[in-house]
Symmetry: C2
Subunit: 196 residues, 2 copies
């Protein structure tokens, strides 16, 4: 019996490494500045192999974004065994840690959020999923006002994060507490019982 | 004694009308789609006259944005004779009325907020001024956390407005109350005395 030249694990692992490198390259360079040839060369693989994984630069870019969104979803997963407030604090800690460690990529993402169609729809999708995860912890069938409060709070979060990256004038824990307190305030203003 | 061919008032008025038309045109068309010739033709003036007022299309575009920002500043002026909460409510009503009446322009502005340099810096400037006006009503020398709360709340406001324009599933008064309540919640979360 002959082994396949590459195992599935190796293929996944290589794809994963290409995506990590891509996230880094796209964060540091403008999309137009990068060529598939340059990316392949940075990755130490042939252009043909890169194209084997990703049919075009746009596909590659989108795949790096999807990967980042997946990583973020895992980091901010809400622990169902914790009380809601603690679960939210933990999830926010995960988010802020990601933002801090991927500052460049996060800024770039926010900056291109409205100009690049794929980024725009991805951010909308992530916001929608995050809003849904938060709403799932509240009593069912929340009125429009409560839904609006949660969705708008995600804007608050991005604004606060960008501001924090710019100024770094408070601790990450302080920012987390500000985010949590504001969500509670927004929910109360919308007439919802905050999760306790 | 001879009168000047155009009085200052006529010049200002014509400039003002060109800016109003420009705001409308830029809201309905992409920047690249519009030419100075087309704008002049829409305005019923000669291209030469349009160039007399605005040296380039980019200057014209920026002037329409500045005018919109000034209009907005007037509409949202905080009445110093009212108690803080009422003054804030009145100012927010002015803002929401503007958003509602200039939906297209507001959406366009937010969408191009990160891709066009001038728009980006104008929005940052408006946010900074608005944050300052709010901070001026609070005890002096607010700590970083309070400043961050106010600035991030302006993101909340834009997020909530865009969401509201998309869905129209609540009354304008409900949105205003949500905005106010969230600001109070954010200020309290930041450890500030909310203005009462």
């Amino acid at each position: 019996m002959s082994e396949p030249a590459y195992t599935r694990l190796q293929v996944d692992e290589r794809r994963r490494r290409l995506l990590e490198l891509g996230a880094d390259l796209f964060a540091r360079h403008a999309f137009d500045e990068l060529s598939m040839a340059a990316i392949a060369s940075e990755a130490g693989v042939s252009k043909a192999l890169l194209y084997h994984y990703f049919p075009s630069k746009a596909d590659f870019f989108e795949a790096t974004l999807r990967q980042a969104a997946e990583d973020l979803a895992v980091l901010t997963e809400v622990d169902p065994d914790l009380p809601p407030i603690e679960a939210l604090a933990k999830s926010l800690d995960g988010f802020l840690e990601y933002v801090e460690q991927n500052e460049l990529a996060y800024r770039k993402l926010m900056q291109s959020a409205t100009s690049i169609g794929e980024v725009k729809s991805l951010i909308a999708e992530v916001r929608e999923n995050t809003a849904q995860r938060l709403l799932d912890r509240l009593p069912p069938d929340p009125p429009p006002k409560v839904q609006a409060a949660v969705r708008a709070w995600l804007w608050f979060m991005d604004g606060a994060c960008l501001d924090w990256l710019d100024r770094r004038d408070m601790q990450r824990d302080e920012l987390r507490d500000l985010l949590m307190g504001t969500l509670m305030g927004a929910l109360m203003a919308a007439g919802a019982e905050p999760p306790v």
